[in-house]
Amino acid sequence: MGERKLFAHELEARLDELLLLSLRQRSAAEPAALLEALPRELQERVLHWAGVAAQTSDDLGWLIASRAAEQAASLGAQLDDWARAGLDAYDRSGLAATRRALNDFAAAHRAGAFESQEGVAFGAIEGRLSRFLHALEGRPLKLVAGPRAWTDSETLWLPERLDAAPDAAGNRRLYKAIAALLWAQTRFGSFNIDPEPELAQWPAPEAALRWFALFEAMRLEACLGRDLPGLAADIAGLRGPWPAALAATAAALARPQASVADSLACLAELRIVGAGETPNFPHVGALDPLAARRVRAVRIARDTATLRQALNVLRAVDPSAGGQDHPDYPPLAAQGQTQHVDPQAEFLALPLPAREAARSLQQDLGEIPPEVLQAAGPGAWSPVDGVDSSATVTVTTQPDAFYDEWDYRRAAWRHGWCHLYEMKAPVGDHAWVDEVRSRHAHLIRSIRRRFEALRGEDKPQRRQFDGEEIDLDAQVEARADRKSGTEPSPRLFIHRRRIERSLAVMFMVDMSGSTKGWVNDAERESLVLLCEAIEALGDSYAIYGFSGWTRTHCDIYPVKRFADRYDAATRSRIAGIEARDYTRMGVAVRHLSGLLARQNTRHKLLVTLSDGRPDDYGDEYRGRYGIEDTRRALLEARERGIRSYCVTIDRHGADYLPQLYGPAHYAVIDDAKKLPQKIAEIYRKLTG
């Protein structure tokens, strides 16, 4: 950017305007003075992020602005990632967490992790890594970005960014190596031993832990290498040869029979010989046996309970399965024979969660302890899980689903941002529907007639190259042609093509406050006519209303689910559609397109009936933010094979609708009263 730098007073004015500081009796003088020294491009980035943050909260804006002023110079090109990390932390846990996240990020940056442009950010590799680990583990593992790399045996924390290798490919390999070694800690039993007695004998337990982690990394690398030699070779390439002093230890720990006890023995030996400076290997993550063992103990208890319960149920049903002498259920096998229990065979009969638990136990403990396989006495198979029963109590306040929302200013997702509730649709006056039907009786009749003509049926296509039957007319002509010396047409067949209307339609009805009055009436009348029309066609369709009040109250009202029939109850719910709150559209599109995607039809169509642009309480969702989020949600729907169409009565719709739905996929009705008359025709054109 060739423009001149902004001076302090200009920066102060811009910040003041963005953050409304004068109202809050804060002064931007100090940050402005710090920012003055920066190049214009960086100044603009800081202002941009301050503005983005201020749209979420003024305090957040101030925090970002003041910290950015202090740290922008050192962060340089990392400023964007730094700010995104802060905003993400705010979404998750508030202002204090933001402060921490910003500090952590800056500290890591200062620590020299971000020297080159070749670094790789966690976000850029998360998807790839999580699939890689999923394939290794056989189930999804939770990956989280954190200040240091470690695992508690359930979640893997990985650095926000890696920059230790000279190029991006190397940094990606480094991520893979760190993650694989952390996964191996759980897989190959690093937590099977309690290292506390040994660690306690060290003057500096942290140093001991780092040595322990290093020894384990040597052992685990070899463990990985036995199954995945390429991965081990990658790791070896990243670390280079072990220093001479460590080479013998590494070789000893690489033996197939080495276990975590050997690593601990090495640690004890080292304590006696005396440890020097801990060598630093970037591919070795931290080891936190205490935290991991805690998590592991909880998991083992849970898995044991699950497995034992399932086994008890199984044995109660089929006493021969267990082979245990159970007073209530004597074994059916021939007397005097000792039954051989084959746990593997028995596990195959278990329900999936119990099988998973068994697998997980096997992984944690090396084998299923015999006491788990013992029947736990009569009555133990009654469901006693107290945790579950308490969970159902709170269910009414739990959202039915969480959805991510797209923030275009950050160019990033806000994870789990929208809380979606599926509400019970209110019931309206059935008489109203009857009145509409009798008022529009003529229209309904003509719509039905026209639509019945569209019904799927066999259509014979004449004069085809190929087909099931001979087209006699074509054959006669061809014969005449041949007699007269003209070249006959080779199209002599009739092909019956079944025109299948394999179509599912989701109507997404705007129930925002602005529809109150005649817009709402028009929507309801349109739905009645539409239902009549679609019933004649036999398409599969559903109607859902949506409304909401901020991101934590996004409500969906099922008026007619796909499985519901167009009966009196459905009609009453159509009558009950009423104007409520706001239009947070993205989350509704995501939820409803998810429901639609489950329909097994060839074509899927999402039709929005709306009176305006996406909007929600507060300024945040209004304007471009809401439009960008909705656009994103519609794009996701398209990727799932769903076509979208919008019918709106917003006369300004032409400004933003092409951007959302594409140029030909919306209709603006200038007069709400005409909506019922036009809607059926729109639907016919759309699906004909």
Binding site: A135, P140, R498
Partner: protein, 276 residues
């Protein structure tokens, strides 16, 4: 399936495949016995299992074993009744009846194998019903003919229950006519033997390929619709046997056919790199 209209009708006849040499098949359970018993009793057989686990090869093997000709039809969503049963063609000034593959198989007492039957149109699958119950006959309406199947005729269908789509499920009225055999990927040792034999690679390479196959199968539902079948592993092995490096061969024969999406593709590349 799409006969060229200008050639003589003789050339259009459905090819009945007579297998002279034994198609390689490694049994993993009692499928050989069950199939043979069903063949003896004149019962139709349904093979269920994921893509590329050896269903088609099994049928070929059984056709060879039972010494019966084989007719294979790959079903698709535009497969009509006429495509199976037959149609009239025009040759010169005459109409000539042309048996479809199903009719040809019935007349010849062959094994008719309808591969991926769920892909065919629902109304098409109904024509096989009379062949699958005690009638064992095929009515050919256009000719007013009722062909009773000879004892050697056998109907075999296959389908892949792994598809998510409910559309691709078979109607109970159809499925309840069949003796069903469940197919799955063989266990690792067996699969490695198959890959080594079919792909012409050494045991170590075959084991690595199988390891890779297992890793990809764990990604089912997490980026992949289905993991790599034995067929894909054999393809990769064949590329390796022809002198390609394992990494390039696996990328071309396994990773690329399985995934388009970047993250999954990259993860598959990582897995290939990890195994070799």
């Amino acid at each position: 399936m799409n006969p060229a209209r200008n050639s003589a009708p003789r050339a259009l006849a459905t090819p009945l495949v007579h297998l002279d040499s034994e198609p390689y098949y490694h049994a993993t359970g009692d499928e050989l016995e069950v199939f043979a018993a069903a063949a003896k009793s004149g019962l139709p057989v349904m093979l269920k299992g994921p893509t590329g686990c050896g269903k088609t090869r099994f049928v070929e093997h059984m056709a060879w074993r039972l010494q019966r000709p084989l007719v294979t039809v790959a079903c698709h969503d535009d497969l009509t009744t006429a495509d199976l049963v037959g149609r009239y063609l025009i040759v010169g000034d005459e109409t000539v009846w042309m048996d479809g593959p199903l009719t040809a198989a019935v007349r010849a007492g062959a094994i008719c194998y309808l591969d991926e039957i769920v892909e065919a149109r629902k109304d098409t699958t109904v024509v096989i019903h009379p062949l699958t119950d005690s009638r064992r006959a095929l009515p050919v309406e256009k000719r007013g003919e009722y062909i009773e199947a000879p004892p050697d005729f056998m109907l075999v269908i296959s389908y892949n229950p792994g598809y998510q789509s409910v559309l691709k499920e078979m109607k109970p009225s159809t499925r309840q006519r069949f003796v069903a055999l469940d197919f799955d990927y063989p266990d690792a040792a067996t699969e490695a033997r198959i890959v080594a034999h079919e792909g012409g690679v050494d045991d170590d390479t075959a084991q690595k390929l199988v390891k890779l196959g297992h890793l990809t199968r764990k990604l089912k539902g997490a980026g992949l619709d289905e993991g790599a079948g034995t067929r894909l592993l054999v393809h990769a092995a064949q590329l390796i046997a022809s002198g390609m490096s394992p990494a390039i061969a696996c990328t071309a024969a396994i990773a690329r056919p399985l995934a388009d999406e970047t993250d999954t593709r990259d993860a598959l590349d990582d897995l290939i790199r990890a195994v070799f």
